[in-house]
Symmetry: C2
Subunit: 144 residues, 2 copies
Amino acid sequence: MKTLTADANKTHRKILKKTKQKEAILRVLKNTMSHPTAAWIYDEVRKELPHISLGTVYRNLRLLRAQGEISELEIIGDCRRFDGDTSNHYHGRCDRCGQVVNIDESMSKRLDWGISRETDFTISEYRLEFHGLCRDCRKLETKE
Amino acid sequence: MKTLTADANKTHRKILKKTKQKEAILRVLKNTMSHPTAAWIYDEVRKELPHISLGTVYRNLRLLRAQGEISELEIIGDCRRFDGDTSNHYHGRCDRCGQVVNIDESMSKRLDWGISRETDFTISEYRLEFHGLCRDCRKLETKE
DNA sequence: CTACTTGCAAAATATTTGCGTTATT
DNA sequence: AATAACGCAAATATTTTGCAAGTAG
């Protein structure tokens, strides 16, 4: 029985090299709370490395994600968004302005489902996204 | 103070017309559990309406979503996925095969956070996605 | 009739990839 | 030296849109 993906992980793993491009991308992502897109990261990194290419940004985002150094958000929209904070925290997305905000991490403590004991699905991770209105937009809403 | 999006919703709302294309798309989506992509829906509807265009599928998926008749999944992947079941249920995505499964709806009863009272975010909806292994893939995993 | 919707094709976005070169180990 | 990673440009998706013609209300 062939199990290609698993085998690929086991046999000869690639030796990852450290490059200034990868480091710059990771630094940009760790230093923002803005859940940026690949294009935004590209613009930001270009201030430091003007000749970096968008392809390199995408390649490194994929590498970094595979290594678990960054995570990718499950957000409906035009393009993917990434997060330098890989800790277990949740996101709120404002239905009006589209802003993605962090939901306080203490909330995570209440998540203890034991679902894996009750369903036929073994959970390794869960991602929770709240939809609603952020503080500023709620103010606008009530004024109308 | 201008609040464009809200105004747009209030002033002259468009009268939606019933078309066979829209009905076919909705029917396909209501009759599958597969959380399909726009392209899959297109192929499926074309069996019945061979001349429908992909643009029409996309246009109607957006309309139906705006009306709340279907929902869109927050899934990391190549393209968007839709769901004809708009009830509050959760999804599990298999890390190995990519399959999206439904998590039993009874689980929903346990979600009573009261987060909106504790945070500065007014929640209208939440979406929860579990990541892990589905039954079949877990069997493969343990055999290795 | 009016104006929403369609099919088609072209455009706009977003992401990946081939290739010859550069840089890291 | 070997090979991972780069920059660039071309190739792939994926999704949106302009427009003339069709159709529901």
